[in-house]
């Protein structure tokens, strides 16, 4: 297993977020709101399998969901954003996100 960091970033306002890795429920958090001055609502630390897996992110409070196939070797840091247009977007990178 490897560590996966999922940052819930822009657009959250008292929302519920469910995260699954492949078909296993990983985490559910309620009442999440973005702190605008840093652009971050919460950081979720997960265990992910080595190699390829599918990350599912769902925001039931807005009827939004998305998923993406990831490879821990290529990127273990995921940023999740609800765009101004109401879409759920994932951004994956190999380096930790930072905030200011």
């Amino acid at each position: 297993m490897s560590k996966l960091s999922v940052d819930l970033q822009e657009g959250f306002q008292n929302d519920t977020v469910r995260v699954r890795v492949d078909d296993a429920a990983a985490l559910e958090r309620e009442g999440l709101s973005t702190r605008r001055q840093i652009g971050l609502a919460a950081r979720l630390e997960l265990e992910a399998p080595e190699g390829s897996f599918v990350l599912h992110v769902e925001v039931p409070t807005r009827a939004l969901a998305t998923s993406e196939r990831l490879d821990a070797a290529r990127g273990a840091f995921v940023g999740v954003n609800i765009t101004a247009g109401g879409k759920l977007e994932l951004r994956v990178q190999a380096k930790e996100f930072w905030y200011a």
């Binding site: 822009e10 101004a84 109401g86």
Partner: protein
Amino acid sequence: MSDQQKAKIAADERDGEQREGTSLAVEVSGTYVCHPFNPHRAASTDAALSESANDDAAGLDHELAQLLVASDSGEHTLVRPRSAAQPAREGSEAEVAALEEVERASIGVPIPLTARELRLDVDGRYPQMTASGNFSAPGRPDIHWIARLKAAGPFRWVGRIWYQHPATPLFAYSSVVIQVTPSVYAVRRRARVTFLAPGVRALTLNYRFHSHFFHRFEFEADQVTNAAITLDIDTGAHPNRPPSLPVERLSIREVYRRAGFDTRRRAGNQIDVGGAGANGTWSESEMHDAMQVHWSRFANLPQWSMWVLFAHMHDQGTSLGGIMFDDIGPNHRQGTAIFTGAFISQAPAGETAPAAWIERMRFWTAVHEMGHGFNLAHSWQKEHPADWGTPWIPTPNEVEARSFMNYPYSVSGGETAFFADFEFRFSDSELLFMRHAPPPFVEMGNANWFENHGFEQIVRPARSGLGLSLGVNRKRALYQFLEPIVLELKLYNHAQQRRTVDANVLSNPEALTVIIRKKNGVARQWRPYASYCLQRRPVELRPGQFIPESLFISAGTNGWDLSEPGDYTIQVALKLPTEDLVSNPLALRVAVPQSRGEERLAQDYFTDAVGRALSFDGTRELKKANDALNEVVVQLSDHPAAQHAKIALAMPMARQYKVLQDDHSFFGQAAQVEEAGKVAKEALLDSKDESAETLGHVDYAYYVDRFAGLLEAAGDKRSAGELTRAKQSVASSRRALDADIDHVLKTAPDAAAAE
């Protein structure tokens, strides 16, 4: 002249001589204050105004005339553009006649406004070609205006006023002409501003130069003993920089001076955390407490002053380089922190100039966090839905901006690309906000962070004469718990001329933005369950006529925005092809539950299904919704919610109802007109005035017509007649409440036909 005044003039002349010695052109941007001998508008005599008018007519040029024509819609007497082949000559007869034409159309109502300041932004660092200023009026908030300028001659600018706060008819001007009398000596510098609008008496005011800056600002940088501090930077230390970037020692103070602020840094304190033990990181509340103890200027007041703490690390750890932590309590944005133990002090592997990288990141972070203190959002947060907070004006995102407010890693090409073009500045839209937004939006400790950017204040009064009114169908905007909230929206023609509008414009949710803000809560945008694409239906509104529409705003795809007891403010913006209209803010209250029964029903009532059933006038398929509505009818028969429930239960029964089946075929359920009529009569006749109050007169009339027609078609003419008479009786009652509603209900839909 006092010695102090003489000394000031002498110092100013030295400054002027230095400027002359360096052959610099005179810069005239900065703050001007209204001359004390100005005849302000209340005291103005016709003679004084005529004199001003004649003087200013000398410069009323072709461009201004075009501007006035272009910015108006024909209802006023206009200054006609002169032929380009006959350029205006200074003081020409034609120019005087042009301005006199404005004067003749004047309504000339004296209003006691007193001019205060003028901020002129046309040269110097990052000119925004903007002027702004304010007027005060007795017992009212200051009126703030902003105009976009174009050069119209030497030290002369013209421009349209595009922003006014608050929206008030007291200030009716639409354009400005600014003539500056330049001088290398600041004390001799003057600005003369003529405010103009077709149909309104021109107003000319004299201002004297006060400062090269737009506001004063000070900050105090305190340092925790285990943290580093960076207050300035060598811009040439890192090799990745724009080739044109001046190599200099640049301080935070100088960055904010270049942004237009007369910036001073107060001596800071050292904060010893030796007693903190193992807990070496900082939480928001710890920083807020420290601010109150260590900041020498701390006060629970708005003031152009900020506390900047250089600490080692936040509780969040190394991923947080800094934060404007002060969104706590009544006075936000007074305190920021920079964490020099965070990533900003960890140069990436392979970095060729690690020390310079660290200094630059610390410097960038400090200026960035202080920018939040000025109420600046991140570059990508400017274009956002209302429930993120309210922007001061609609502003596009600047995801690629090389601004202090953008994250370097967020741009295309990442941090390397960012710093290759970064000129250590704020973007133009940020500078516009900092320099020219109403000062309470920017001043630390004033408007809340990310809030109060004045949705209700962003739009000037409509120049077309159209207005948007939001109201309720009762004397007090008090709603019972569970009671669906139906508001009345009216598009008025306040002008003296007829106006053509789309009769369906208020029925198009795409054109409407409805903001709901619970007291002490965040603003949310009402999102209706459905959008309708309606054919445009032009109608002419005569002066004083309006188009009404009801708004059921209790529920939508956001859920039940108005379910909780408490105080709410609601405001609506309407997008028309030529302008945006903003309604009055409407305050309403939702009462607390009056019984255990109401509380118990709430669990099944405040659901998406019930929200849809009420919004779409009922359903035969959402069984749980119908069960909940039946429970309301049975258990709360005298409650206003029961009237809505009865309508939602009766409407689907009133006609043959198509049900989509699993095999994708439709099954038609027979109409039950008799049963529907019985329920509808209970809802619309038994307590007709109460029903009209909770359903709203617009919807009440609609439902009565609908059921009366159905009952008549089914042969029950007696019941149909009862309903029709009830509507007339309710309309009579409404006339006593609001004399114009009946007029509107009768005339607005037929306006086109009547013409």
